[in-house]
Structures are given as C-alpha cells and as structure tokens.
C-alpha cells in the first residue's frame, strides 16, 4: 500500500505526537508534582509496552502487507525465531539477527 497522507497530515502527526510525548514525560516532574496516581493506573501503565507492541505486530505477522495479506510461512518462522531467541537470551540484537537471518534463509529456500 502506498502512503496517502498529505504533507500537512504528516507534520500534524509529528508535531502533536512530539508535544503529547513531551507532556507525558513532563507530567509528574512538571505539572502533577506530588499527586499520587491510583495504584490501578500505575499497574496498567506497567503493561503498556507488552500490550501495545504485540497488538500492533500480530496482524503484521499473520497477514503481511508484502504478500497482499496472505499468511506467509517465511514470516511466521522469522517471527517465531525472533521471539524464541529473545525469550531465551534476553538480548535484543541477537534476537533481531535470528529473525532476520531466518527470514532471508526461508525466503531464499522457498523462492
């Protein structure tokens, strides 16, 4: 799919995202000061990375845009290798290397 966003739209996203991210980082240091967040909010915040990123990635793994949305064994295998090495070694770079080499090897073998 080609990107259809206009120049204005892209800059709008960059600027709003920049300001919003700054405000999140500044929130307690700057404005909220001593106010305590309820415990359940802190709990939920702890799980944002492990929820948002997998939810974003899962459809891309199962229905990759590059194959027109058709499930692709090479990409599934690459994803599995990445997760396996990541869980096992806890090393982000090793895990990326494992995923990348699996992908290219599979694409080469399956043509």
């Amino acid at each position: 799919m080609t990107m259809q966003a206009s120049e204005f739209q892209i800059w709008l996203i960059i600027v709003v995202l920049g300001i919003g991210t700054f405000l999140l980082r500044w929130s307690f240091l700057g404005a909220l000061g001593n106010r305590e967040l309820p415990e359940w909010v802190m709990r939920m915040l702890r799980y944002t990375p492990v929820s948002v990123l997998p939810a974003l990635v899962a459809p891309l793994v199962v229905w990759p845009a590059a194959t027109g949305g058709e499930t692709d064994p090479s990409r599934i295998a690459a994803a599995a290798a990445t997760v396996a090495v990541g869980v096992w070694t806890k090393n982000v770079l090793l895990s990326i290397a494992a995923g990348g080499s699996t992908l290219f090897a599979m694409l080469y073998v399956l043509g």
């Binding site: 995202l17 991210t21 799980y47 492990v50 929820s51």
Partner: protein, 257 residues
C-alpha cells in the same frame, strides 16, 4: 574493579561502600563524564535501531525533513515506528496519534519515578529532562539514584545529562544516516518485516512474569480478532484489554503471595 583485600569498617548508619563513596565524591563534571561512560554500551542498540527507523520511514514515503522531525521532536523509537507503520496503512490521523501516544504512556510512569530525586530542579532543567527521558536514560538514572541515595542534585542532573547527550544525539544522527541510506537500498528485499522483527525482539525479553505473558497474549488475540476493523482501531481496543489483563493478573498474584 579488583576487590579490596582488607575488610572495611562498617559505619553504623550508612554503609558507604567503595562505589558509593566514589559517587558522592564526584564533582558535577565528573558525574557528567561518568554518565557518558555508563551510557556508551547502549549505543550498540540505539544506533542500529535509529538507522533502521531512517530506512523504514524513508521507504514508507517520508522525506528526510519528516524523518528527522520524528527523531528530533518525538525522540521515542517505538512510537515513531508505530506512527510510520500506521501511516503506511493509511490509518486516520487521530488513530495514528492516539496509538503512538499509547506506546509512550509508560513515560508518565518514568516521570513519576524520577520526581522524588529531581524535585528541587528548576523548571527549565525539568523541561530538558522531560525532553530526553527515554527508556535508557531513565533506566540508567533511576538505578544510579537508588544505588547512591545521598547524591546531590547537581550530581544527579549531571549524570542524567551525560547519558542524555550520549544516547539522544546519536539517535538523531543515525536516523539521518538511515534516511539518507534508505534511498540506496533496493526495494525488493523484505524490509517490510524489519519492524515486526524489531518489535518482537524488544517485547520478548520483557515477558518475565505471568502477568506480562497474560497481557501480551490477550493483546495479540484481541488484535487478531479485531483486525477487520478500520486500520489502527483494533489496536486501540486490544492494547487496553491487554493492559487491564496484566494489571488484574498482577493484583491476583500479589494477593496470593
């Protein structure tokens, strides 16, 4: 780094070990340098990640100014990748902004954790810290502050500044390198999958507890079930479901313990 042979006398209240005494004796300038040296290893991850962002964003159709706009104004890798991915899916602007901000929600938590240590800083200093508050600068600083609770404000600020300089500036430079290189990379290599692999590699080491696993599992299931929704919308529903699951499981396991 060699262990000292003589047994050291223990002082009653503050068992000042070697490292602690050293940390307390540092001038702000030395603390700044120490922050720099401690941050250097993180560059092994930050530089390739930034280059990759430059390449992926350029391939998606952004120009160099826009790519740099992301890395300078937003300065938050995962959310930058999220925004670019959703841009190439032609998701609505508001969905892109909300999703990318959701990725950065954790930074409010960082802000709250640093506050007790940096309360006395000036407004201007706090603004700079907020700007440079990324995963790595946070992780390094909070570790350092908790390890050496008696550091002065100037020592704390200088340490943070050292880390911020070493981690944030290369992020921008390497993004630019990637954006410039991006044009040279042939279109037919499977670069579409660089983002999923990078994200999976970031998530996998985080799956330490049952709560993390549960959050991740629910988020994935929901995202797949909701994939028929207009682009990006499924994410906005699936992610909070995952977060709630993590929180509930954590509360339960704590209750039992």
């Amino acid at each position: 780094m060699s262990p000292t042979p003589e047994p050291r006398p223990q002082h009653g209240q503050t068992p000042a070990d070697d490292a602690s005494a050293k940390a307390l004796a540092r001038t702000p300038r030395a603390a700044f340098v120490y922050g720099i040296t401690q941050s250097l290893p993180f560059l092994i991850v930050i530089i390739p990640f930034a280059v990759l962002f430059g390449v992926v964003a350029t391939e998606a159709g952004l120009n160099v100014a826009q790519v740099m706009g992301f890395s300078v104004l937003v300065l938050a890798g995962a959310s930058q990748f999220t925004a670019v991915q959703l841009l190439s899916d032609n998701a609505p602007t508001i969905v892109i902004i909300l999703s990318a901000l959701a990725v950065n929600l954790r930074m409010a938590m960082y802000s709250a954790s640093l506050l007790p240590w940096l309360r006395e800083a000036s407004g201007r200093q706090k603004a700079w810290i907020a700007y440079a508050l990324i995963d790595q600068t946070f992780a390094l600083s909070i570790q350092h502050y908790e390890r050496h609770p008696r550091l002065g404000l100037q020592q704390r600020l200088a340490y943070f500044a050292g880390g911020a300089l070493v981690l944030c500036v290369p992020w921008m430079v390497a993004t630019w390198a990637g954006a410039t290189l991006g044009d040279l990379i042939p279109d037919d290599i499977a670069l579409d999958f660089a983002l999923p692999i990078t994200f999976l590699a970031m998530i996998a080491p985080m799956l330490r507890t049952t709560a993390h696993l549960a959050a991740c599992f629910v988020a994935i299931t929901a995202a797949l079930l909701l994939a028929w929704l207009p682009s990006g919308l499924g994410l906005l529903i699936a992610a909070p479901l995952g977060m709630a699951t993590g929180a509930i499981v954590e509360a339960r396991t704590e209750g039992k313990a």
